[in-house]
Amino acid sequence: MKKVLALMLAVVLVVSLMTACSKPSSTKEDEKQNPTPAATEATTGGDSVVTEEVKEAPILAEQVAAGTLPALAERLPVAEDVMVENDVLSLGEYGGSITATTNDGGRWGWGPYTEQSMFRFKLDGSGEVEANVCKDYYPNEDASMWTIELRKGMKWSDGQPFTADDVIFYYDHVSTPALNADRVAVGVEEAGYYPAYTSKPYNCYQVTKDGKNYWAKFDKVDDYTFTVTFAAPKPNFPEAVAVDNKWMFLPKHFYINYVARKDGVSDDPTFPLITEEQAIANANKDFGKVWEDYGSMGKDIGYYNWDYAIVPQIRSFIAVKDNWNTVGETYELVRNPYFWKTDSEGRQLPYLDSLKFMIINDADQVVLKQTAGEIDISTVEFGNYSTIATATQATHTIVPWFRPEWQSGPALSLCQTVQDLDKRALFQDARFREALSISVDRNLMNATLMSGQSKPAQAAPAEGTSSYNEEWANKWTEFNVDKANSLLDEITEPWDKTEGTYRKMKGTDRDVEIVISTSDITLEGDYITLLQTAYKAIGVKVSDKVDAEIAKSILTNNIEAKFEGVNITSPAIRPDVIVPMRNFSCWYGAYGKWYEDGKTTANGGIEPTGAILELINAYDAIKSASGDNRDTVVAENVQKIYDLHKENTWIIGFLAPLPINFFVNNNVKNFPSNIVWADEYRFASMMRPEQLYLAK
């Protein structure tokens, strides 16, 4: 330890001396308050000037001086394991807070701002990951075993060490369900079944071999190294974790009071055996809640752990009060004094004292606050853009980010497994989808819905992205009602275009009707009216169905159509929007259920054929690709998935995607631009809020 400290002192001293001349001098008072090893004294030009290298926030330095916080060197990981943040655009200054807003749903609204994942996606949008919480990671030859190294001396926000034990505890006792000896999960109906503590069975820890899903095994090598062993190669393990689970650890020393270990081991002093009842009682006492069962308690504090200020974190900012669900209040997250990243000059991040979130549910109230310039960082809905831009032009700058979307405005998704078989035949017919696509006047739509800011396009990857394809973007976008009618004449009963009548489905006397489910008629009502008018000219009836629980309707294959945009970085990273691999999107409906249930029709899944099956095969090929030519196989199959979508256009788009615009207060520095805004990349975490600072 002494050696490490000495080394650190030396490094810091050298850096300090190098930068001493360019830094403004500070008072002796400051120096007194900051007895960190970083403080030094320099003499320039014969005058004795006290120059101090501030390596930590003044607020923290005061606490150190007062003896309420350990010195910086004791809070950071050992010098060589500190994460030096190279993404910082410019070196910042300490202090101040920035204000953003979120609704009282909390969780994902503000979580990504402070989230620190084991592996994180690079800012460049390449879809590659890099080490974040871990120091390094590497696979064995066939990628069936990954070794992960942690940062020595890294600490939780309560000062306790962060070690491999925290990762292994999290994996073995929090995120895995009951496993058989061969590490295949115990079936729900089988004896000995229990779900994961967080109720989330992550795919990233499983591999499929001979039709069975095997869970990985985590082994501790030493306090700062562990291995993850799979039953088959898992070449995309880091990417899969970054998308699927993200964090991969919880503070063992804290959670042992709330987790009833299921392996029955009773002689482990670091993790004593307690019953579920004791765990609930402990949680209710410490968290001030009334959980009545172990499952919901586990999900709440294990999965949504960042909801509770009491839980130690390794996040950049930590909560002080759990008022994130109180509308009208400000939820404040203050800097984590044990945060383990520094800038290139060795100054501990974050620069800001705190992030403040105004908890507001009503969109109009947010707009009023934005117009008044009270929010430092926010995104702006399309309709309010000009109002807010005009009102805040002197104080805020508009910073565009990309949304990996395939459309703006509505995109019509027809459920390919709709229950009505006549309708299913129509929906699966490409001519029907083409007719629906070309009978809409996209220019009119652009003018009425988007104030002319977009342009006619098919649902396809955006211009400027690597998967952009001009032919695809323009497919079926010409406005041609006659052609649409002749296409439909081939697949429906003859129609004489009498006003007020619709086409009949082939061999029936039932109207060709599309029932569009919507959870928010105020938002999507305009889209529906527009399509109703357009499709009247081709004899297709459009009705709306207000359904507050669309997700459930999709689960039960009880849906015909909905507006469903595609938002995807790459099917290799997150496939469920364009590949039927789980019960999620309307367009593929019960095909997803089939795949999710291990390619069976037991729970209402429908076995796919043709192009949909090809999609699934391509995805399976991506999943199992390994070895030297893995990248080639992945690229080929990603392309294949895109080609299949291009050919079939299951989702009908009308207008080209638009960027997402951030309104950023001019005082906020280091806000990056042209970043991809996507769930896979964890939204606001790509802002790297720990590196934001305020201009003095």
């Binding site: 009208g328 209040e329 403040k356 109230q365 009270e374 629980e549």
Partner: protein, 330 residues
């Protein structure tokens, strides 16, 4: 003896009304299709989580929403009687604790607006009645009708917008950031009180002006007033000693609604102005089909109406002997 019979009769009636209310409340909040688990599952799926049919079944058992309505109802009612109002699904907190959290702010706002309503309404009403068809009376009548006609939430939005136009900062919420810790924060808090107070008391004040004025005018025409005036009793005494006594009736009989209004704290206005009162909690509970929380809030509210009506009935019987007489002659 008759008095006690009257009170006993009222109490019995109140008890059965309450019992019926509990049933209706529990029934009505279960009316929308789906239950808490459905909205939970929708949220989970929206957040990108995988939910299987088995998970949903487990959740139903976990939240006990898979039991028949009548079982759930009797369980709930039993709990209410024994002081266990159940747990809020959404907040994972005891219903009573959750209600208690916002009770202070709710009561404060409501009481302030209540006091202001009376302080403003009664003098204006007296002035209007005493100066019927004067310019002042017309002006107050005009304002009164506008105030009654404009919905609370619209007025709230308008004032919020004006606060932004005039001060550059829209005034929303009740407590300043970080709480009331200094004199400046207290002043800020007072500033934030202005809009809610105006909005919430507006229609009440205007309504009260109208009814008190009408009652006073009615009373002024009565023979006993003419007689009193003829006897040379001063106008002041006539107004405050005789006429005002008659005015108490409409005020007292409105007690039921008023008491429950104090507890509810103007739901929609509170949502628009982001006030930390009971209103937004009730909305959240209803939206997420959190039956025990919404049931609890609605029950308290309904109970207060019943109690308020009971008190006003009893008070009226004391204040106005004619009611007792009517009751006895039945």
């Amino acid at each position: 003896m008759d008095k006690w019979r009257y009170i006993a009769k009222r109490l019995m009636l109140a008890f059965f009304t309450l019992l019926m209310i509990t049933f209706v409340v529990f029934f009505v909040i279960q009316l929308p299709p789906g239950d808490f688990v459905d909205s939970l599952v929708t949220d989970m799926v929206a957040q990108g989580e995988t939910v299987t049919a088995v998970d949903i079944a487990n959740l139903r058992t976990m939240y006990k929403v898979d039991r028949p309505f009548i079982v759930q109802y009797t369980d709930w009612l039993g709990g209410i009687v024994t002081g266990d109002w159940g747990t809020s699904f959404y907040y994972n907190q005891s219903v009573l604790v959750k209600i208690g959290e916002t009770l202070g702010a709710t009561l404060m706002i409501s009481l302030i607006t209540l006091v202001i309503t009376y302080l403003i309404a009664i003098p204006i009403a007296i002035y209007s009645a005493k100066h019927q068809y004067s310019i002042g009376d017309y002006a107050f009548t005009f304002i009164g009708f506008i105030g009654m006609a404009v919905p609370h939430f619209l007025l709230a939005i308008l004032l919020m917008y004006l606060s932004y136009k005039w001060t550059g900062k829209p005034i929303m919420g009740l407590f300043p950031e970080g709480g009331i810790t200094s004199w400046a924060a207290f002043l800020d808090f007072l500033k934030r009180l202005i809009i809610p107070t105006i909005v919430i008391s507006m229609s009440g004040t205007c309504g009260l002006i109208r009814s008190v004025r009408a009652q006073l005018l009615d009373e002024q025409e009565k023979p006993y007033i003419l007689c009193t005036r003829a006897k040379g009793v001063s106008e002041k005494t006539i107004t405050y000693k005789y006429e005002m006594r008659a005015v108490i009736n409409p005020i007292v009989s409105g007690l039921g609604g008023m008491i429950s209004g104090i507890f509810n704290g103007s739901t929609i206005t509170a949502i628009v102005l982001m006030l930390p009162t009971q209103g937004p909690i009730l909305l959240k509970a209803l939206q997420s089909q959190d039956v025990y929380l919404s049931g609890g809030i609605l029950l308290i509210s309904a109970t207060l109406v019943v109690i308020g009506t009971l008190i006003s009935d009893l008070l009226l019987a004391v204040l106005d002997p004619r009611i007792k007489f009517l009751e006895e002659s039945k």
